[in-house]
C-alpha cells in the first residue's frame, strides 16, 4: 500500500520508511513559529525547562503581528517579551514592525518555509504552508516551547481526505470560494483530526496566492493540515526564494484515503459565509440584501498582492459607500510596496479606503477596525465567530476580495458583476 504526501513527509521526519494513520510518532521540525499572543506563554514555559538555547536559531521564527503596531501598554509588554528573547537567542527570523508582516504571508514570501518541510506554529492558520507541499500545522504555546527546545514534536499520523476539484472556475471565483464551498459542504468539523489534500484540474491552475488561501482555511474544517502536492507553479515560487534545500513529495497512486470528495468547480459561484461559523456558506446569488458597515480586505487569507489587484480593479474610479468603512491591509511590507508601485493605493485612496501597515488587528477583534454593537462587517478574513471583530452582538461575513470590493461600493453584500 502506498502513502499519501502527508504520510511520506511525516515518515521522513520521523526517520522511518513508513507510517500509518493513527500511529504516534516523534518528528523533526524544520521551522517553529510563534506570534505576540502565543509566544510569551511559550517563552515562559521554555525558561522553566532550564535549557539555555533554542535548538536552532535559524529555525525559530517570532513574528509580532497580532496587536502590532502595539495598541496598548499590555500588548507592548507582550511584544517586548518576544523582542528580548529574540535578542538573547540571536534569532535570525525575528521581524520588527517595519519589516514585519502577517506571519502566514511573511514566511512563504521570505523563503523560510518550503516543500517537504515539517512546520509547527503556535497559530491555527499555520496550515497555510501546506500550499507549498509542506506538512504544516497549528499547535499551542506549550508545544511551541517544547519545539523551540528540542526541534521535535509528537504527532498522531492523520488519515487523509482527498478533495478533487474538477472543471474550470467561473469569473470572480478563486481559492477563497473553493475553500468556503468545501467547508460549507463538510462542516466546521468535517475534517477533524484529518489531513486535507487538495487536488484536481482547478487546483493545478490556481496561483500560489490562491493556494495559500485554500490551505489557510483547512483548520476551519477542523483539518490538521491542508496540503497541495507541489507542481511547476510551486517550484517557480520557491526557486530563488527558499533559504534551505527543499524536497518534493507526491502521494502514491495507491495511497489510502479515508474519503475522496469530488467537486464540479464550474458550478461554484463566489461564496459568502454568514455568521457565526465559516460553514454557513451561500452562493452570492442567494445572499439577498445584507447591508454592511465595514469591509476589511487583508489578513493571512486574502492580504496578498493578487487579492489587492482584484479589489483595485473593481474599485477603480468608484467611491466607497458613504456610510461604510473600507480597510485595506497589505499582508507584508513587500506586498505593501508592490501595491504602492503598481498604483493600487491611488485607487484605494481615491475610493475613500483606509490603507494600513500590515497587522492581524481587525481579523481577531484586536484593533484597527473594531465593530460596535449591531454592526456588520464583510471581510476577506477566515473566521466569523461571535464577537470575532468586536462587540459580541456584531456580525462578520466572509468572502473573497472581489465580493468585498464590490460590496464596499454598494454598501451591501454584492456580486462583483454588479459594479464591473
Amino acid at each position: 500500500m502506498g502513502m499519501t504526501i502527508t504520510e511520506k513527509i511525516l515518515a521522513a521526519h520521523a526517520g522511518v520508511d513508513k507510517v500509518e494513520p493513527g500511529e504516534l510518532i516523534n518528528a523533526k521540525l524544520d521551522i517553529v513559529l510563534g506570534n505576540d499572543i502565543t509566544a510569551p506563554v511559550a517563552i515562559k514555559e521554555f525558561k522553566k525547562l532550564g535549557v539555555e538555547k533554542v535548538y536552532d536559531k535559524e529555525r525559530v521564527c517570532l513574528v509580532p503581528d497580532h496587536f502590532t503596531p502595539n495598541k496598548d501598554i499590555k500588548s507592548a509588554e507582550q511584544v517586548k517579551v518576544l523582542r528580548d528573547f529574540a535578542q538573547e537567542q540571536d534569532l535570525t527570523n525575528y521581524y520588527e514592525v517595519g519589516e514585519m508582516g502577517v506571519e502566514h504571508c511573511l514566511l512563504p514570501e521570505k523563503g523560510i518555509v518550503g516543500p517537504g518541510d515539517v512546520i509547527i506554529g503556535a497559530d491555527s492558520h499555520t496550515c497555510t504552508y501546506g500550499a507549498l507541499g509542506a506538512f504544516a500545522t497549528g499547535v499551542g504555546s506549550t508545544d511551541l516551547a517544547a519545539g523551540m527546545a528540542t526541534g521535535e514534536a509528537w504527532f498522531k499520523v492523520p488519515e487523509s481526505i482527498k478533495f478533487v476539484y474538477n472543471g474550470k472556475l467561473q469569473p470572480y471565483v478563486g481559492g477563497k470560494d473553493l475553500i468556503l464551498y468545501t467547508i460549507g459542504n463538510i462542516g466546521v468539523d468535517g475534517a477533524r483530526y484529518m489531513a486535507m489534500e487538495f487536488t484536481g484540474e482547478a487546483i493545478e491552475t490556481l496561483s500560489m496566492d490562491n493556494r495559500f488561501t485554500m490551505s489557510n482555511m483547512a483548520i476551519e474544517a477542523g483539518g490538521k493540515n491542508g496540503i497541495i502536492p507541489p507542481d511547476e507553479i510551486t517550484l517557480k515560487y520557491v526557486k530563488g526564494r527558499a533559504k534551505r534545500p527543499w524536497k518534493v513529495y507526491q502521494s502514491d497512486p495507491d495511497a489510502k484515503y479515508a474519503q475522496v470528495i469530488e467537486f464540479d468547480c464550474s458550478k461554484i459561484e463566489p461564496q459568502v459565509a454568514f455568521p457565526h461559523l465559516p460553514e454557513n456558506t451561500k452562493p452570492i446569488s442567494e445572499v439577498g440584501t445584507v447591508t454592511i458597515d465595514q469591509v476589511v480586505i487583508g489578513s493571512c487569507t486574502n492580504g496578498r498582492i493578487e487579492d489587492l489587484r482584484i479589489a483595485a480593479a473593481l474599485l477603480k474610479g468608484k467611491k466607497v459607500h458613504k456610510y461604510l468603512r473600507l480597510l485595506v491591509i497589505p499582508g507584508t511590507q513587500a506586498i505593501y510596496r508592490q501595491a504602492m508601485q503598481e498604483g493600487l493605493f491611488d485607487i484605494f485612496l481615491d475610493a475613500g479606503a483606509a490603507v494600513s501597515t500590515p497587522t492581524c488587528g481587525p481579523c481577531l477583534g484586536g484593533h484597527m477596525g473594531i465593530l460596535a454593537k449591531g454592526e456588520r462587517a464583510l471581510a476577506t478574513t477566515n473566521r466569523n465567530f461571535v464577537g470575532r471583530m468586536g462587540h459580541p452582538e456584531s456580525e462578520v461575513y466572509l468572502c473573497n476580495p472581489a465580493v468585498a470590493a464590490a460590496s464596499a461600493v454598494l454598501g451591501r453584500i454584492a456580486d462583483p458583476r454588479e459594479v464591473k
Partner: protein, 167 residues
C-alpha cells in the same frame, strides 16, 4: 483520579473566541483570563457563577478555531475540573493535555447529562456516573502515550526529562 462536580452544559462548536475573546489576549495571566472565560458564549455569566470543581459538558467540536492555549488555561484557572464533550477540536485537545486540563470524549455523556447534574468521573476507568439521574456513561480513555504525558505531569515535565537525559 476521581472528579466530582456540577455541570455546565454547552452546545456544538464552542469556539476559542467564545471561550476567551481575543480582546483579552494582551495578557497571559491565568487569573486575569479566568475573569472573561466564556464571555462570548451562550452563558455570559459563567465566569462569575462557576464554582471550583464544576464540570463543562458540551456537544461536538469543542474548542474549534484558534490555537490559543489561553482557552484551556482560562477554563482551568476558572476552577473547572474537567471538560466532557461529544468531540474536541484537535489543537484544543492537544493544548488541554499539554497544560494538564483533563478532557473526556463521550457522546453518550454529552447527550445524557443536563445542566446542573452532579456527576462523578473516574478518569482511569473512563466511567462517568450521573449522580442526579443515576446513569453511567463510557468515556474514551486517554491513549497510552497521553497517559505517559499526564503521568509525567504535562508536556513540559516530559520534555524536561528528555532534555536532561540528552544533556
Amino acid at each position: 483520579m476521581q472528579l466530582q462536580g456540577k455541570t455546565w452544559k454547552f452546545g456544538n462548536d464552542v469556539d476559542t473566541d467564545a471561550i476567551i475573546p481575543a480582546r483579552y489576549l494582551n495578557t497571559s495571566d491565568p487569573a486575569e483570563l479566568a475573569k472573561y472565560c466564556m464571555e462570548d458564549s451562550e452563558k455570559k455569566d459563567f465566569s462569575s457563577q462557576v464554582k471550583p470543581g464544576d464540570i463543562i459538558v458540551a456537544g461536538k467540536n469543542f474548542g474549534c478555531g484558534s490555537s490559543r492555549e489561553h482557552a484551556p488555561i482560562a477554563i482551568k484557572a476558572s476552577g473547572v475540573s474537567c471538560v466532557i464533550a461529544k468531540s474536541f477540536a484537535r489543537i484544543f485537545y492537544r493544548n488541554a493535555i499539554n497544560i494538564g486540563l483533563p478532557i473526556f470524549e463521550s457522546p453518550e455523556a454529552a447527550e445524557g447529562i443536563s445542566e446542573g447534574d452532579e456527576i462523578l468521573v473516574d478518569a482511569e476507568k473512563g466511567k462517568i456516573t450521573n449522580l442526579t439521574k443515576n446513569e453511567t456513561y463510557d468515556a474514551m480513555p486517554f491513549p497510552p502515550f497521553m497517559q505517559e504525558l499526564i503521568a509525567a505531569g504535562g508536556l513540559m515535565k516530559y520534555v524536561g526529562k528528555k532534555v536532561a537525559k540528552n544533556a
